[in-house]
Structure formats: structure tokens, C-alpha cells
Amino acid sequence: MAVELKMPALSPTMEEGTLAKWLKQEGDLVQPGDIIAEIETDKATMEFEAIDEGTLGKILVEEGTENVAVGTVIAMLVGEGEEADDVPTPAAAAQANSTSDPAPGEGKDVGRDEPGGISAPEKPQSQPKSDPTIPEGTSFTSTSVREALRDGMAEEMRRDDRVFVMGEEVAEYQGAYKVTQGLLDEFGPKRVIDTPITEYGFAGIGTGAAMGGLRPIVEFMTFNFAMQAIDHIINSAAKTNYMSGGQMRCPVVFRGPNGAASRVGAQHSQNYGPWYASVPGLVVIAPYDAADAKGLMKAAIRSEDPVVFLENELVYGRSFDVPDLDDHVLPIGKARIMREGSDVTIVSYSIGVGLSLEAADELAGQGIDAEVIDLRTLRPLDTQTILDSLAKTNRLVIAEEGWPVCSIASEVIAVCMEQGFDHLDAPVLRVCNEDVPLPYAANLEKLALIDTPRIVEAVKKVCYKD
């Protein structure tokens, strides 16, 4: 069996090169690994090694020939019992110097160069589900966000023994912010695991455990420390299902407090919502009140996808009514209208929702009826709820406790421009933190963070009432 020796590529982008030198001549015996020729491009020289054993038959491209297209047959390798002259010369070889278009699979990367440019097919739209209706007569219990999160985890741990919690101080210390209080007592050290201070490592172990069939909840003491682990969150957890063609799931929840706390300085005060929300393959949840915290925590744990669950330390202690239901699970990807209104829409999430509701109250006193939307899930973003509200009010402000640049606010503005332009009666404004690392000094910190007056002011501006 004669083997065609073809002009090799030195890199994914190489299209042609110079056949600098033949190191074997016609009739020479060739062993696998022998260097047969030297190939040159403007960037590098490569030794062309034989893969197969045989005798070098016809040399079809003379040494010194320039612009030899990748895939051109440059010589024939003749197997045992064959004569060099018996081997038919391929037609393509005669045209080493021509710019003929090689047949598909013959040196042409059929995967890449589609003529005329290609356009992606239509992207399937997500259809978020509505919240389940709470049966009439359901009682409510005032619960702190901290307890609601814990209750959500505990209920899921009772329901599914693959669920476990790991992180720094989650077990014996009962959680740095006491969110895992009582879990060790109920579930024991196998399922409530104290880790060393080793975020990159335990984020990887949590992710690997999810790949191996468990349902880990990985607590970061705060999300600031998850920067050491972001590689696993993004490269390992978010991409694996896609890269494996849907074979390998990664149902892990990364959770912990996010955003500014109080007077803890720049390294401990940052909102990572926009970071994670920009990554396909992740679900990103950032609830505000206790009922949502519980219902979405349960949904996050049950999800087959990796979830980043962003809590807020300043909200942990606030209490809200939580329905007394056996199984309060909320849909991921659905925003919630916290307050209906007709004049203007305020979009927010996490701690910003509380400020927005305060602002709406204040605005009501000034004759402006504001609708407040809590996004709850940052990815996938419920754009429909935003656009529906915009169509009703024609004015929109986004309030976000985080930096303004490349933020959730920027994203919402883009959505309004692209899909809601005809409904806009005023430019969409964003109210975000100042674009600085968070300062420690009490007065400067206050200046840097969003607050109710700034939201009120922006709303009046889009209502042309200032």
C-alpha cells in the first residue's frame, strides 16, 4: 500500500510553505521517525518525520519549491513488495505550485472557512415559569434571611442525601455568619464539612464531587475570597456540560455573602453579580427577601446546573414573612414585581431592592407611582418582565449596589435599547456605587454606596420632574 506524503501544516493557521530540503532521496529506505524533509514558513522551520515505514518513491515537489499548499502530495512512500513506478501519481501532485482549491479533507479545514460568512441560527428563548400560587389560608412566619437560607438547605439535605455543605467554619463554628447554624448537629460531619482555608482547592473538590454524582453546596466565607476559586467556577463548573456535549453535569451551588458589608474596606466589599452573570453555563441568583432566599436556595440545590448564589451580609438579619409550606420552591430565571406602579420602573436585585422600595414609598408621596422589579436571578435574566414593565411605564431606572461599568445595569440598559426602544420616553438611567474601590472612612463609604435619595433623584429625572 503506497502512502501519500502530504505537505504538513506547522500551525493551525499555516496555509502554505517552502519545501526547503529533501533529506531522503528516491529509493531510500525510511523508518518511522526518520526525518524526510525540512519545511519552512516565515515563522519556523520544521522537520518532516516519517510516520510509516517504506521506501521513498517519487518525489513530486522539488526542494526549494515555495508556496506549497498544505495538503499537497509531495512524495510517495512505497510499501514492501511494491515498485515505485507502479504507484500512480496523484493528479494533485502535479500542481504543487498552483493555487488549486484542495478537495474537502485534503488540506482544507472544512470546519472554518465557510465562504460568505455564516450566521448563527436563532437562539432559543427562555420561557421562565411563574411562581407557584400560595394556597389561600397559608400562614406566614416572620423569618430572617439567614434562617430562611439555612432552612432551605436543611430541607433539601433531608430530602436528598447527596446534598452536603462544605466550606470554612461551616460546621463546628456554625458558619462565619451563622448561615449553617445547626446543620452539623442534624446532619453530622460527613455532610457538613469544615475545610481548611483553601478556596481554590475546595472549590475544585466541590466541583469534582458534583461531577462524581453528589450535590455539593460550597460556601465561601464571602465571595471576595472566591476570586481564588473563580477558575473552577467558570472553567470547570460552567463549561463542562457544554464541552462534554451534555455528558457531564455539574450540579453544584456556590454560595456566600456578596457585595459591600459595612466598613470592611475595599478587599472585602465587592459585588460579583456582573462577573458571574456574564458567563454562559452558570445560573446566578441574588435574592432579596427571606421567602425568595429560601425558595430559590431550594431550587438552586435541585438544579442540574452549577449555580452561583449571591447573598448579602447586611440583609441576613432582616426578617420577612415566609409561607409555611412543606416545599416552598421558586422558579429560577423569573423576576418578581415587588410593587406595582404605572409611572416608572425601578429594576434592582439583592440589597438594592430594599432601597428601591424605600425610594418608591418616598416617590409616592411626591405623586410618582413607581413599579419595583426584583430580578432575583441575574442569569438567565428575565428580560420579558423588564420589557413588559417598560411597555407599561415607558421609563426605567436600575439601582445596583455595585460598580457601574460593565454591570447588570449596563446589561439592562442594553436590553431596553435593543428590545424596548419604541417604548422609551426617557433615557434609562443607572444608579450604582461610585466607580472607586470601596473606602473605609465612614463618610467616604457612605458617599460611595448607592442610597435611596440617589434612586429618587434618578427617577425624578427620567420622569422629567426635577
Partner: protein, 363 residues
């Protein structure tokens, strides 16, 4: 996973420092001692023939992949396993495939083939086709077979080590009797997360075998230019992980080490670190001009340490004929040629595949 650690508690250590230390010495050296006592696995002829075929399949497959890359049919990064075949075959032949899991980096074709996974779907993944094992969406570096408990195929140097720790945690948690085999390179061995994982794996006594495939280079960096301790098998010592120093160019020695290490892990002895000393003949990836080493160095390895030639010699000494072995080679070449044809003729993924598998669920 707070359970009683195998090591003496601190207070005890202080009171009987000597015995604690000799305990440590024993645990950390006993595996290597056992290996050195009789370093070659006593394989049956049938087993040896199987190793030979498997290694040769990897070799020929990778050579073909190199050719297809040269023709532009395979794109991007493509890291060949040529020269290192004995490592994957020696270790994976000792696994209990019903229970054990494997994870590695981007140099993963050989580990897939070691499972007997159809070369067609591996090659079709390399050419980015719908029939590829990841539907063409992973490529050379990202192949998985959860059916075989093979968890990839990871492109971030060192990431597979902590992910492997997680797989081992899952084995322990589920109490399924399995262990995880986590491969990484000499370059990866300098990543911080490796040591984070060593610590937790030893602290929690996870069933994991860490395998450093020391092929002498991380891209263009020779081991001695990057590593303060080049005896990688010693690097678990600080975490009380016993190390083994193994000739990775001899499949029977690798298999022997695997037997000893797996037994230790299965008897709840905790993690083991195996350094397999091996060599990669080709460039780091296909676009590596390999200016950092001499041709003579590569030739010396090929001529005197080749794992396939080495086993061939053992087989011929044992009475196999050249002709028998040549027939195997011929069959494998034909098998690989078929895989190449398949991978060239299979269609590319449907455009709609762009949007599938981003998330599992619809929200």
C-alpha cells in the same frame, strides 16, 4: 469528613516523638520499598499481548492524529501521548472499571483509548464532528466518558487534581469502594491547588492516586528549570502522602506500582502519589518547534527506552514471533485508518448544537 486521623495526635507525637516518626517513615516508604523489591508485574502472556496492543493503538492513533493535524483536519491545540503509552496502560489496566474513576489534563487521547473507547468517536472529536464523543464541542483537550467514569479532559493546568479530589470525595461519600486516579504533569505539579488538594485528600483520607506523568518538560521548560524539588514523588511527604518513584517507560513496572498503590488506597490507607518517569517524543502540542532539546536526546529515548519496543522484546524473548507482532501492527493501522476515514467523512455538528448543553435545564 471529620474522622479520626490516621496519624498520632499532636500530644502523643510530643510524648513519643520517636515512634511517631518511625510510623511516618514506615507509611511513607513502605510502598516504594515493596515496589523496588520486585518492580516488574508478573504478567501472563495474554496480559502482555493486551498491553502491547493497547500501547500500539495509542501510538498509531496519535501518529495519525498528527498527520490529520498536519492536513488541517484537526485544529487548535493537539497534545500527543507518543512515548508515554506505558503510563496510561500500566495504571488503567489495574483499575476496577465498575467502581474507579479517572481524570486527566489535556493530553487525554491515550487515557480514553486505554478504556477501549471506540477510536472513531475519539478521532471524530478531534476533527470536530457531530459523531465525536463530545459532539465536536470539546475537541482534543476536552473528552469525557461518564459511562466509563472518565471525567476528562481539562485544559487548565492543575485543575484536574482538585477535581479528582472531588471525585474521590464522592467515592468515599457514597462508600462505593472506588478510587480516583488523577493524572497531571511535572509542570502542573508546581500549581498551588495541587498542594491544597494533597492536604485535604490526606486530612480526609480520600481514596485517590495522584499520578505525576513526569515527561521532563512543561512545554519548553525542562523540569530542572522550574522545580526546586525534581524528585516529584517526594512532594507528598509534607502531607504524609507516601510516594513512589516509577519507571514510566515500562508498562510492567507501572502496572506493578499500580497494584501496590491501589491496594493501599483500597485498604483505607489514604492517598498515594506516584511519579511516573516518562518522555514525550513529540512537541508539547502540534505547534511546538521543539528547540529546547536536542534530537539526540529524543533519539536516545526512542532507541533505548521505548515502552512498546521494550515490551516487544519481552514478548519475543518469551517466544512470540516477529510475524505475530507485525500482524497486530497491521490490524491496528487498519483500525486507525478506519477511524481517520470516519472522522473525515462524518458531518460537522448541526448549527443548532450551538445552543444545546449550555445549561441542562430550561429556566
Amino acid at each position: 469528613m471529620a474522622q479520626s486521623p490516621k496519624k498520632p495526635a499532636k500530644s502523643k507525637k510530643a510524648s513519643s516523638a520517636k515512634s511517631a516518626q518511625s510510623d511516618a517513615e514506615f507509611v511513607l516508604h513502605s510502598l516504594q520499598d515493596a515496589h523496588e523489591k520486585s518492580p516488574r508485574y508478573d504478567a501472563s502472556e495474554e496480559e502482555m499481548m493486551q498491553f502491547y496492543e493497547q500501547m500500539l493503538l495509542i501510538r498509531r492513533f496519535e501518529e495519525k492524529a498528527g498527520q490529520l493535524y498536519g492536513l488541517g483536519l484537526i485544529g487548535g491545540f493537539c497534545h500527543l501521548y507518543i512515548g508515554q503509552e506505558a503510563v496510561a496502560i500500566g495504571l488503567q489496566s489495574a483499575l476496577d472499571n465498575d467502581r474507579d474513576s479517572v481524570i486527566t489534563g489535556y493530553r487525554d487521547h491515550g487515557h480514553m483509548l486505554a478504556y477501549g473507547i471506540d477510536p472513531n468517536v475519539i478521532m471524530a472529536e478531534l476533527t470536530g464532528r457531530q459523531a465525536g464523543i463530545s459532539k465536536g464541542k470539546g475537541g482534543s483537550m476536552h473528552m469525557f466518558s461518564t459511562e466509563h467514569k472518565f471525567y476528562g479532559g481539562h485544559g487548565i493546568v492543575g485543575a484536574q487534581v482538585s477535581l479528582g479530589g472531588g471525585l474521590a470525595l464522592a467515592h468515599k461519600y457514597k462508600d462505593d469502594g472506588g478510587l480516583c486516579l488523577a493524572y497531571f504533569g511535572d509542570g502542573a505539579a508546581n500549581q498551588g491547588q495541587v498542594y491544597e488538594t494533597f492536604n485535604m485528600a490526606s486530612l480526609w483520607q480520600l481514596p485517590i492516586v495522584f499520578v505525576i506523568e513526569n515527561n521532563g518538560y512543561a512545554m519548553g521548560t525542562a523540569v530542572k528549570r522550574s522545580s526546586a524539588e525534581t524528585e516529584f514523588h517526594r512532594r507528598g511527604t509534607a502531607f504524609r502522602i507516601p510516594g513512589m518513584d516509577v519507571n514510566g517507560m515500562d508498562v510492567l513496572e507501572v502496572r506493578n506500582a499500580a497494584e501496590i498503590a491501589f491496594k493501599h488506597v483500597r485498604e483505607n490507607g489514604g492517598p498515594v502519589l506516584i511519579e511516573c518517569n516518562t518522555y514525550r517524543y513529540r512537541g508539547h502540542s502540534m505547534s511546538d518547534p521543539a528547540k529546547y532539546r536536542s534530537r539526540e536526546e529524543v533519539q536516545e529515548k526512542r532507541d533505548h527506552h521505548d515502552p512498546i519496543e521494550g515490551l516487544k522484546k519481552t514478548l519475543i524473548d518469551g517466544g512470540k514471533s516477529e510475524a505475530d507482532l507485525k500482524a497486530i501492527d497491521k490490524a491496528i493501522r487498519a483500525r486507525v485508518a478506519e477511524a481517520a476515514d470516519f472522522s473525515e467523512s462524518s458531518p460537522e455538528p448541526e448549527p443548532q448544537e450551538l445552543y444545546t448543553d449550555v445549561l441542562v435545564e430550561n429556566y
